[in-house]
Symmetry: C2
Subunit: 249 residues, 2 copies
Protein backbone atom coordinates (compact mmCIF):
# COMPACT_ATOMS: atom_id res chain seq x y z
CA UNK A 1 0.00 0.00 0.00
CA UNK A 2 2.87 2.31 0.95
CA UNK A 3 4.67 1.44 -2.27
CA UNK A 4 1.46 2.18 -4.25
CA UNK A 5 1.17 5.61 -2.61
CA UNK A 6 4.82 6.29 -3.34
CA UNK A 7 4.35 5.34 -7.00
CA UNK A 8 1.25 7.51 -7.29
CA UNK A 9 3.15 10.47 -5.73
CA UNK A 10 6.00 10.01 -8.24
CA UNK A 11 3.52 9.89 -11.13
CA UNK A 12 1.83 13.06 -9.82
CA UNK A 13 5.23 14.75 -9.56
CA UNK A 14 6.13 13.57 -13.09
CA UNK A 15 2.85 14.89 -14.43
CA UNK A 16 3.34 18.25 -12.64
CA UNK A 17 6.91 18.74 -13.92
CA UNK A 18 5.77 17.68 -17.39
CA UNK A 19 2.90 20.19 -17.36
CA UNK A 20 5.25 22.90 -16.13
CA UNK A 21 7.82 22.14 -18.87
CA UNK A 22 5.03 21.97 -21.42
CA UNK A 23 3.66 25.36 -20.31
CA UNK A 24 7.05 27.06 -20.53
CA UNK A 25 7.83 25.55 -23.91
CA UNK A 26 4.43 26.55 -25.30
CA UNK A 27 5.00 30.09 -23.97
CA UNK A 28 8.46 30.20 -25.61
CA UNK A 29 7.16 28.95 -28.97
CA UNK A 30 4.33 31.52 -28.90
CA UNK A 31 6.80 34.32 -28.05
CA UNK A 32 8.96 33.23 -31.01
CA UNK A 33 5.97 32.99 -33.40
CA UNK A 34 4.67 36.45 -32.45
CA UNK A 35 8.28 37.70 -32.27
CA UNK A 36 9.06 36.55 -35.83
CA UNK A 37 5.92 38.21 -37.22
CA UNK A 38 6.53 41.35 -35.12
CA UNK A 39 10.19 41.62 -36.22
CA UNK A 40 9.16 41.19 -39.86
CA UNK A 41 6.54 43.97 -39.61
CA UNK A 42 8.96 46.23 -37.70
CA UNK A 43 11.67 45.62 -40.31
CA UNK A 44 9.52 46.41 -43.34
CA UNK A 45 7.76 49.42 -41.72
CA UNK A 46 10.83 51.01 -40.08
CA UNK A 47 13.50 50.24 -42.71
CA UNK A 48 11.42 49.38 -45.80
CA UNK A 49 8.79 52.14 -45.73
CA UNK A 50 5.75 49.80 -45.57
CA UNK A 51 3.97 47.74 -48.22
CA UNK A 52 2.32 48.32 -51.60
CA UNK A 53 0.33 46.23 -54.07
CA UNK A 54 1.65 47.97 -57.24
CA UNK A 55 4.03 50.57 -58.71
CA UNK A 56 6.80 50.15 -56.11
CA UNK A 57 9.02 47.05 -56.47
CA UNK A 58 10.63 47.41 -53.04
CA UNK A 59 7.32 47.85 -51.17
CA UNK A 60 5.71 45.02 -53.19
CA UNK A 61 8.53 42.76 -52.00
CA UNK A 62 7.87 43.99 -48.45
CA UNK A 63 4.31 42.68 -48.82
CA UNK A 64 5.79 39.33 -49.95
CA UNK A 65 7.94 39.13 -46.78
CA UNK A 66 5.03 39.87 -44.40
CA UNK A 67 2.57 37.51 -46.09
CA UNK A 68 5.06 34.64 -46.39
CA UNK A 69 6.20 35.01 -42.76
CA UNK A 70 2.55 35.31 -41.71
CA UNK A 71 1.40 32.33 -43.79
CA UNK A 72 4.31 29.87 -43.69
CA UNK A 73 5.65 30.59 -40.19
CA UNK A 74 3.00 32.24 -37.98
CA UNK A 75 -0.28 30.68 -39.20
CA UNK A 76 1.33 27.34 -40.10
CA UNK A 77 2.99 27.24 -36.65
CA UNK A 78 -0.22 28.16 -34.81
CA UNK A 79 -2.06 25.52 -36.80
CA UNK A 80 0.44 22.83 -35.73
CA UNK A 81 0.10 23.92 -32.08
CA UNK A 82 -3.73 23.67 -32.02
CA UNK A 83 -3.80 20.01 -30.88
CA UNK A 84 -1.35 20.75 -28.10
CA UNK A 85 -3.02 23.97 -26.93
CA UNK A 86 -6.64 22.79 -26.84
CA UNK A 87 -5.95 19.15 -25.94
CA UNK A 88 -8.91 19.23 -23.51
CA UNK A 89 -11.43 20.25 -26.22
CA UNK A 90 -13.29 17.79 -28.45
CA UNK A 91 -11.08 16.51 -31.27
CA UNK A 92 -13.46 17.71 -34.00
CA UNK A 93 -13.18 21.32 -32.72
CA UNK A 94 -9.39 20.99 -32.88
CA UNK A 95 -9.64 19.68 -36.43
CA UNK A 96 -11.85 22.60 -37.51
CA UNK A 97 -9.53 25.24 -35.95
CA UNK A 98 -6.49 23.41 -37.47
CA UNK A 99 -8.19 23.60 -40.90
CA UNK A 100 -9.22 27.28 -40.51
CA UNK A 101 -5.60 28.22 -39.71
CA UNK A 102 -4.46 26.33 -42.82
CA UNK A 103 -7.04 28.04 -45.06
CA UNK A 104 -5.85 31.45 -43.75
CA UNK A 105 -2.24 30.33 -44.24
CA UNK A 106 -2.89 29.23 -47.87
CA UNK A 107 -4.58 32.58 -48.60
CA UNK A 108 -1.61 34.53 -47.21
CA UNK A 109 0.90 32.37 -49.13
CA UNK A 110 -1.01 32.70 -52.42
CA UNK A 111 -1.29 36.51 -52.18
CA UNK A 112 2.36 36.65 -51.03
CA UNK A 113 3.53 34.67 -54.07
CA UNK A 114 1.50 36.85 -56.45
CA UNK A 115 2.98 40.00 -54.86
CA UNK A 116 6.54 38.70 -55.48
CA UNK A 117 5.71 37.85 -59.12
CA UNK A 118 4.19 41.33 -59.62
CA UNK A 119 7.24 42.93 -57.98
CA UNK A 120 9.50 41.01 -60.42
CA UNK A 121 7.29 42.13 -63.33
CA UNK A 122 7.86 45.73 -62.24
CA UNK A 123 11.64 45.38 -62.65
CA UNK A 124 13.60 46.07 -65.87
CA UNK A 125 14.41 42.46 -66.77
CA UNK A 126 11.60 40.38 -65.28
CA UNK A 127 12.53 36.72 -64.68
CA UNK A 128 10.76 34.34 -62.33
CA UNK A 129 11.68 31.24 -60.36
CA UNK A 130 15.38 31.15 -61.15
CA UNK A 131 16.90 31.31 -57.65
CA UNK A 132 17.39 28.48 -55.17
CA UNK A 133 15.04 30.40 -52.83
CA UNK A 134 12.20 30.26 -55.36
CA UNK A 135 12.79 26.55 -56.06
CA UNK A 136 12.63 25.79 -52.31
CA UNK A 137 9.53 28.00 -52.02
CA UNK A 138 7.78 26.22 -54.90
CA UNK A 139 8.62 22.76 -53.50
CA UNK A 140 7.33 23.85 -50.07
CA UNK A 141 4.09 25.19 -51.56
CA UNK A 142 3.60 21.98 -53.56
CA UNK A 143 4.06 19.76 -50.49
CA UNK A 144 1.89 22.14 -48.43
CA UNK A 145 -0.97 21.89 -50.96
CA UNK A 146 -0.62 18.08 -51.12
CA UNK A 147 -0.60 17.81 -47.32
CA UNK A 148 -3.73 20.00 -47.12
CA UNK A 149 -5.64 17.96 -49.73
CA UNK A 150 -4.65 14.57 -48.24
CA UNK A 151 -5.25 15.81 -44.66
CA UNK A 152 -8.61 17.41 -45.45
CA UNK A 153 -9.84 14.33 -47.33
CA UNK A 154 -8.56 11.78 -44.84
CA UNK A 155 -9.24 13.45 -41.50
CA UNK A 156 -12.43 15.42 -42.30
CA UNK A 157 -14.20 14.06 -45.42
CA UNK A 158 -13.61 10.40 -44.47
CA UNK A 159 -15.32 11.04 -41.11
CA UNK A 160 -18.55 10.27 -43.02
CA UNK A 161 -17.61 6.57 -42.63
CA UNK A 162 -16.13 7.04 -39.16
CA UNK A 163 -15.68 3.46 -37.95
CA UNK A 164 -14.63 2.00 -41.32
CA UNK A 165 -11.86 4.57 -41.85
CA UNK A 166 -10.63 4.75 -38.23
CA UNK A 167 -7.73 2.34 -38.77
CA UNK A 168 -6.63 4.05 -41.99
CA UNK A 169 -6.69 7.47 -40.30
CA UNK A 170 -4.78 6.12 -37.33
CA UNK A 171 -2.11 4.70 -39.65
CA UNK A 172 -1.88 7.92 -41.65
CA UNK A 173 -1.49 10.19 -38.61
CA UNK A 174 2.27 9.74 -37.94
CA UNK A 175 3.03 10.47 -41.62
CA UNK A 176 0.75 13.53 -41.51
CA UNK A 177 2.51 14.83 -38.37
CA UNK A 178 6.00 14.17 -39.76
CA UNK A 179 5.19 15.83 -43.09
CA UNK A 180 3.63 18.81 -41.29
CA UNK A 181 6.94 19.35 -39.48
CA UNK A 182 8.98 18.70 -42.64
CA UNK A 183 6.92 21.39 -44.44
CA UNK A 184 7.49 23.76 -41.51
CA UNK A 185 11.26 23.10 -41.73
CA UNK A 186 11.18 23.67 -45.51
CA UNK A 187 9.29 26.94 -44.91
CA UNK A 188 12.09 27.89 -42.48
CA UNK A 189 14.67 27.11 -45.22
CA UNK A 190 12.67 29.14 -47.78
CA UNK A 191 12.46 32.10 -45.37
CA UNK A 192 16.16 32.15 -44.44
CA UNK A 193 17.29 31.85 -48.08
CA UNK A 194 14.91 34.71 -48.96
CA UNK A 195 16.27 36.80 -46.08
CA UNK A 196 19.86 36.04 -47.14
CA UNK A 197 19.05 37.23 -50.69
CA UNK A 198 17.30 40.36 -49.44
CA UNK A 199 19.96 41.19 -46.86
CA UNK A 200 22.77 41.03 -49.44
CA UNK A 201 20.65 42.80 -52.09
CA UNK A 202 19.40 45.68 -49.92
CA UNK A 203 22.51 46.24 -47.79
CA UNK A 204 25.14 45.07 -50.34
CA UNK A 205 28.64 45.89 -49.04
CA UNK A 206 27.41 47.70 -45.90
CA UNK A 207 26.14 44.28 -44.64
CA UNK A 208 29.74 43.58 -43.59
CA UNK A 209 29.65 46.44 -41.04
CA UNK A 210 26.54 44.92 -39.41
CA UNK A 211 24.37 48.08 -39.41
CA UNK A 212 21.13 48.13 -37.38
CA UNK A 213 19.06 46.75 -40.25
CA UNK A 214 21.47 43.81 -40.72
CA UNK A 215 21.10 42.93 -37.04
CA UNK A 216 17.28 43.10 -37.34
CA UNK A 217 17.40 40.83 -40.42
CA UNK A 218 19.77 38.34 -38.73
CA UNK A 219 17.79 38.26 -35.46
CA UNK A 220 14.57 37.81 -37.46
CA UNK A 221 16.21 34.90 -39.34
CA UNK A 222 17.52 33.35 -36.11
CA UNK A 223 14.02 33.61 -34.55
CA UNK A 224 12.70 31.55 -37.47
CA UNK A 225 15.59 29.07 -37.04
CA UNK A 226 14.77 28.83 -33.30
CA UNK A 227 11.19 27.94 -34.27
CA UNK A 228 12.58 25.30 -36.64
CA UNK A 229 14.39 23.82 -33.62
CA UNK A 230 11.65 24.09 -31.01
CA UNK A 231 8.66 22.99 -33.10
CA UNK A 232 9.84 19.40 -33.80
CA UNK A 233 11.25 19.13 -30.27
CA UNK A 234 7.90 20.24 -28.85
CA UNK A 235 5.82 17.93 -31.02
CA UNK A 236 8.04 14.82 -30.84
CA UNK A 237 9.77 14.83 -27.49
CA UNK A 238 7.30 16.22 -24.99
CA UNK A 239 4.89 13.40 -24.16
CA UNK A 240 1.15 13.88 -24.44
CA UNK A 241 -1.96 12.05 -23.51
CA UNK A 242 -2.57 10.73 -27.02
CA UNK A 243 0.80 9.49 -28.31
CA UNK A 244 4.07 8.32 -26.85
CA UNK A 245 7.17 6.41 -27.95
CA UNK A 246 7.89 3.13 -26.18
CA UNK A 247 10.54 0.46 -26.19
CA UNK A 248 9.15 -2.65 -27.85
CA UNK A 249 12.26 -4.72 -28.38
CA UNK B 1 -6.01 -22.24 -36.04
CA UNK B 2 -7.02 -21.01 -39.53
CA UNK B 3 -7.43 -17.50 -38.17
CA UNK B 4 -3.98 -17.70 -36.52
CA UNK B 5 -2.40 -18.77 -39.82
CA UNK B 6 -4.18 -15.90 -41.61
CA UNK B 7 -2.91 -13.42 -39.03
CA UNK B 8 0.62 -14.77 -39.31
CA UNK B 9 0.45 -14.53 -43.14
CA UNK B 10 -0.70 -10.86 -42.91
CA UNK B 11 2.10 -10.06 -40.46
CA UNK B 12 4.62 -11.70 -42.79
CA UNK B 13 3.22 -9.67 -45.72
CA UNK B 14 3.37 -6.47 -43.61
CA UNK B 15 6.93 -7.22 -42.66
CA UNK B 16 7.88 -7.94 -46.30
CA UNK B 17 6.30 -4.73 -47.67
CA UNK B 18 7.89 -2.79 -44.80
CA UNK B 19 11.33 -4.24 -45.57
CA UNK B 20 10.86 -3.50 -49.26
CA UNK B 21 9.81 0.14 -48.52
CA UNK B 22 12.71 0.44 -46.08
CA UNK B 23 15.19 -0.83 -48.66
CA UNK B 24 14.03 1.55 -51.35
CA UNK B 25 14.03 4.52 -48.98
CA UNK B 26 17.52 3.68 -47.72
CA UNK B 27 18.70 3.42 -51.33
CA UNK B 28 17.12 6.80 -52.16
CA UNK B 29 18.68 8.50 -49.12
CA UNK B 30 22.10 7.05 -49.98
CA UNK B 31 21.76 8.22 -53.61
CA UNK B 32 20.91 11.71 -52.35
CA UNK B 33 23.79 11.76 -49.84
CA UNK B 34 26.36 10.65 -52.43
CA UNK B 35 24.59 12.83 -55.03
CA UNK B 36 24.90 15.98 -52.88
CA UNK B 37 28.60 15.39 -52.25
CA UNK B 38 29.17 14.48 -55.91
CA UNK B 39 27.34 17.57 -57.19
CA UNK B 40 29.33 19.76 -54.80
CA UNK B 41 32.67 18.32 -55.98
CA UNK B 42 31.59 18.53 -59.65
CA UNK B 43 30.49 22.17 -59.16
CA UNK B 44 33.72 23.34 -57.53
CA UNK B 45 36.01 21.37 -59.87
CA UNK B 46 34.21 22.11 -63.16
CA UNK B 47 33.07 25.70 -62.52
CA UNK B 48 35.25 26.81 -59.60
CA UNK B 49 38.67 25.46 -60.67
CA UNK B 50 39.26 23.25 -57.60
CA UNK B 51 40.35 24.00 -54.05
CA UNK B 52 43.24 25.74 -52.33
CA UNK B 53 44.40 26.25 -48.73
CA UNK B 54 45.90 29.75 -49.27
CA UNK B 55 46.50 32.66 -51.70
CA UNK B 56 43.25 32.23 -53.67
CA UNK B 57 40.01 33.48 -52.01
CA UNK B 58 37.69 31.79 -54.49
CA UNK B 59 39.39 28.38 -54.27
CA UNK B 60 39.65 28.67 -50.46
CA UNK B 61 35.87 29.15 -50.39
CA UNK B 62 35.54 26.10 -52.65
CA UNK B 63 37.32 24.09 -49.95
CA UNK B 64 34.78 25.48 -47.43
CA UNK B 65 31.85 24.24 -49.59
CA UNK B 66 33.25 20.71 -50.00
CA UNK B 67 34.22 20.27 -46.34
CA UNK B 68 30.93 21.67 -45.00
CA UNK B 69 28.84 19.54 -47.37
CA UNK B 70 31.04 16.56 -46.53
CA UNK B 71 30.90 17.15 -42.77
CA UNK B 72 27.42 18.52 -42.13
CA UNK B 73 25.45 16.66 -44.80
CA UNK B 74 27.31 13.51 -45.95
CA UNK B 75 29.09 12.31 -42.78
CA UNK B 76 26.37 13.60 -40.45
CA UNK B 77 23.72 11.87 -42.59
CA UNK B 78 25.68 8.59 -42.77
CA UNK B 79 26.17 8.73 -39.03
CA UNK B 80 22.40 9.08 -38.45
CA UNK B 81 21.74 6.12 -40.77
CA UNK B 82 24.16 3.74 -38.98
CA UNK B 83 21.51 2.36 -36.57
CA UNK B 84 19.12 1.73 -39.45
CA UNK B 85 21.69 0.16 -41.78
CA UNK B 86 23.37 -2.21 -39.33
CA UNK B 87 20.32 -2.93 -37.16
CA UNK B 88 21.33 -6.60 -37.03
CA UNK B 89 24.79 -5.89 -35.56
CA UNK B 90 25.53 -5.54 -31.86
CA UNK B 91 24.46 -2.14 -30.53
CA UNK B 92 27.95 -1.29 -29.26
CA UNK B 93 29.41 -1.69 -32.80
CA UNK B 94 26.70 0.68 -34.08
CA UNK B 95 27.61 3.18 -31.37
CA UNK B 96 31.29 3.06 -32.23
CA UNK B 97 30.68 3.53 -36.00
CA UNK B 98 28.18 6.34 -35.19
CA UNK B 99 30.88 8.04 -33.07
CA UNK B 100 33.63 7.56 -35.71
CA UNK B 101 31.43 9.22 -38.35
CA UNK B 102 30.84 12.12 -35.97
CA UNK B 103 34.53 12.55 -35.23
CA UNK B 104 35.25 12.65 -39.00
CA UNK B 105 32.36 15.08 -39.43
CA UNK B 106 33.66 17.41 -36.69
CA UNK B 107 37.13 17.38 -38.27
CA UNK B 108 35.72 18.30 -41.71
CA UNK B 109 33.54 21.07 -40.22
CA UNK B 110 36.43 22.54 -38.20
CA UNK B 111 38.80 22.65 -41.20
CA UNK B 112 35.93 23.95 -43.38
CA UNK B 113 35.25 26.82 -40.96
CA UNK B 114 38.94 27.73 -40.76
CA UNK B 115 39.16 27.74 -44.59
CA UNK B 116 36.23 30.22 -44.80
CA UNK B 117 37.84 32.49 -42.17
CA UNK B 118 41.15 32.38 -44.04
CA UNK B 119 39.37 33.11 -47.34
CA UNK B 120 37.74 36.17 -45.70
CA UNK B 121 41.15 37.27 -44.36
CA UNK B 122 42.45 37.17 -47.93
CA UNK B 123 39.87 39.75 -49.08
CA UNK B 124 40.34 43.54 -49.03
CA UNK B 125 38.02 44.32 -46.11
CA UNK B 126 38.01 41.19 -43.95
CA UNK B 127 34.93 40.86 -41.72
CA UNK B 128 33.68 37.66 -40.13
CA UNK B 129 30.35 36.30 -38.94
CA UNK B 130 28.12 39.16 -40.10
CA UNK B 131 25.71 37.30 -42.42
CA UNK B 132 22.62 35.30 -41.49
CA UNK B 133 24.37 32.26 -43.05
CA UNK B 134 27.28 32.55 -40.61
CA UNK B 135 24.95 33.02 -37.63
CA UNK B 136 23.00 29.88 -38.62
CA UNK B 137 26.30 28.03 -39.17
CA UNK B 138 27.63 29.05 -35.75
CA UNK B 139 24.38 28.03 -34.01
CA UNK B 140 24.46 24.67 -35.82
CA UNK B 141 28.08 24.06 -34.85
CA UNK B 142 27.34 24.96 -31.21
CA UNK B 143 24.40 22.54 -31.03
CA UNK B 144 26.42 19.88 -32.88
CA UNK B 145 29.26 20.12 -30.35
CA UNK B 146 26.80 20.02 -27.42
CA UNK B 147 25.01 17.00 -28.90
CA UNK B 148 28.34 15.21 -29.39
CA UNK B 149 29.52 15.88 -25.81
CA UNK B 150 26.17 14.91 -24.23
CA UNK B 151 25.80 11.88 -26.52
CA UNK B 152 29.37 10.64 -26.00
CA UNK B 153 29.13 11.03 -22.21
CA UNK B 154 25.67 9.51 -21.86
CA UNK B 155 25.73 6.68 -24.37
CA UNK B 156 29.39 5.62 -24.20
CA UNK B 157 31.09 6.86 -20.99
CA UNK B 158 28.08 6.02 -18.78
CA UNK B 159 28.19 2.42 -20.04
CA UNK B 160 30.72 1.90 -17.22
CA UNK B 161 27.70 1.73 -14.88
CA UNK B 162 25.50 -0.06 -17.43
CA UNK B 163 22.53 -1.16 -15.32
CA UNK B 164 22.39 1.94 -13.13
CA UNK B 165 22.27 4.35 -16.09
CA UNK B 166 20.00 2.26 -18.36
CA UNK B 167 16.81 4.17 -17.45
CA UNK B 168 18.49 7.55 -17.86
CA UNK B 169 19.88 6.57 -21.27
CA UNK B 170 16.51 5.23 -22.34
CA UNK B 171 14.84 8.51 -21.32
CA UNK B 172 17.48 10.61 -23.07
CA UNK B 173 17.30 8.70 -26.37
CA UNK B 174 14.20 10.38 -27.93
CA UNK B 175 15.70 13.83 -27.18
CA UNK B 176 19.05 12.73 -28.68
CA UNK B 177 17.32 11.47 -31.85
CA UNK B 178 15.14 14.59 -32.19
CA UNK B 179 18.10 16.94 -31.68
CA UNK B 180 20.17 14.93 -34.17
CA UNK B 181 17.50 15.54 -36.81
CA UNK B 182 17.09 19.19 -35.76
CA UNK B 183 20.85 19.70 -36.20
CA UNK B 184 20.66 18.01 -39.61
CA UNK B 185 17.81 20.38 -40.60
CA UNK B 186 19.82 23.37 -39.34
CA UNK B 187 22.80 22.15 -41.38
CA UNK B 188 20.46 22.04 -44.40
CA UNK B 189 19.40 25.65 -43.67
CA UNK B 190 23.06 26.72 -43.28
CA UNK B 191 23.98 25.04 -46.60
CA UNK B 192 21.11 26.54 -48.62
CA UNK B 193 21.70 30.06 -47.24
CA UNK B 194 25.40 29.65 -48.10
CA UNK B 195 24.53 28.45 -51.61
CA UNK B 196 22.10 31.36 -52.06
CA UNK B 197 24.85 33.81 -51.08
CA UNK B 198 27.40 32.14 -53.35
CA UNK B 199 25.01 31.82 -56.30
CA UNK B 200 24.13 35.52 -56.22
CA UNK B 201 27.73 36.53 -55.52
CA UNK B 202 29.41 34.41 -58.23
CA UNK B 203 26.74 34.69 -60.94
CA UNK B 204 25.35 38.14 -60.00
CA UNK B 205 22.91 39.31 -62.71
CA UNK B 206 23.50 36.33 -65.00
CA UNK B 207 21.78 34.14 -62.34
CA UNK B 208 18.46 35.39 -63.80
CA UNK B 209 19.17 33.67 -67.14
CA UNK B 210 19.67 30.33 -65.35
CA UNK B 211 23.06 29.40 -66.90
CA UNK B 212 24.38 25.85 -66.46
CA UNK B 213 26.18 26.71 -63.22
CA UNK B 214 22.97 28.17 -61.72
CA UNK B 215 21.13 24.94 -62.50
CA UNK B 216 23.93 22.90 -60.87
CA UNK B 217 23.79 25.14 -57.76
CA UNK B 218 19.97 24.93 -57.57
CA UNK B 219 19.87 21.16 -58.11
CA UNK B 220 22.62 20.74 -55.48
CA UNK B 221 20.56 22.88 -53.06
CA UNK B 222 17.38 20.93 -53.82
CA UNK B 223 19.22 17.62 -53.23
CA UNK B 224 20.12 18.89 -49.76
CA UNK B 225 16.49 20.00 -49.21
CA UNK B 226 15.30 16.53 -50.34
CA UNK B 227 17.60 15.02 -47.68
CA UNK B 228 16.06 17.43 -45.15
CA UNK B 229 12.67 15.95 -46.09
CA UNK B 230 13.58 12.27 -46.30
CA UNK B 231 15.81 11.98 -43.24
CA UNK B 232 13.16 12.82 -40.58
CA UNK B 233 10.55 10.85 -42.55
CA UNK B 234 12.87 7.85 -42.64
CA UNK B 235 13.79 8.02 -38.96
CA UNK B 236 10.34 8.85 -37.54
CA UNK B 237 7.76 7.25 -39.77
CA UNK B 238 9.21 3.95 -40.92
CA UNK B 239 8.82 1.50 -38.04
CA UNK B 240 11.76 -0.49 -36.71
CA UNK B 241 12.35 -3.32 -34.34
CA UNK B 242 13.52 -1.08 -31.55
CA UNK B 243 11.04 1.82 -31.47
CA UNK B 244 7.46 2.36 -32.49
CA UNK B 245 4.69 4.86 -31.80
CA UNK B 246 1.59 3.47 -30.10
CA UNK B 247 -1.77 4.78 -29.01
CA UNK B 248 -1.78 5.00 -25.23
CA UNK B 249 -4.94 6.98 -24.57
Amino acid sequence: MGSKNKQSATEHQDSLSMRCGFGWLMFLVEVLLFGALGLCIFWIVYYGGGVAWANDTSKQFNLHYVLMTGGFIFLNGESILVYRKFACCKKIYNKVIHTIFFVLSISAITIGTVSAIQAHNNSQNPRHFYSLHSWIGLATMGLFALQFIVGFTSFLVLLCCDTRTAKFRQQLLPTHVTFGLIIFSMAVAACVTGLTQTGHHRLSDSYKDLPEQAIVINVFGMTIIALGILMPYFIYTIRFKRYTTVLVN
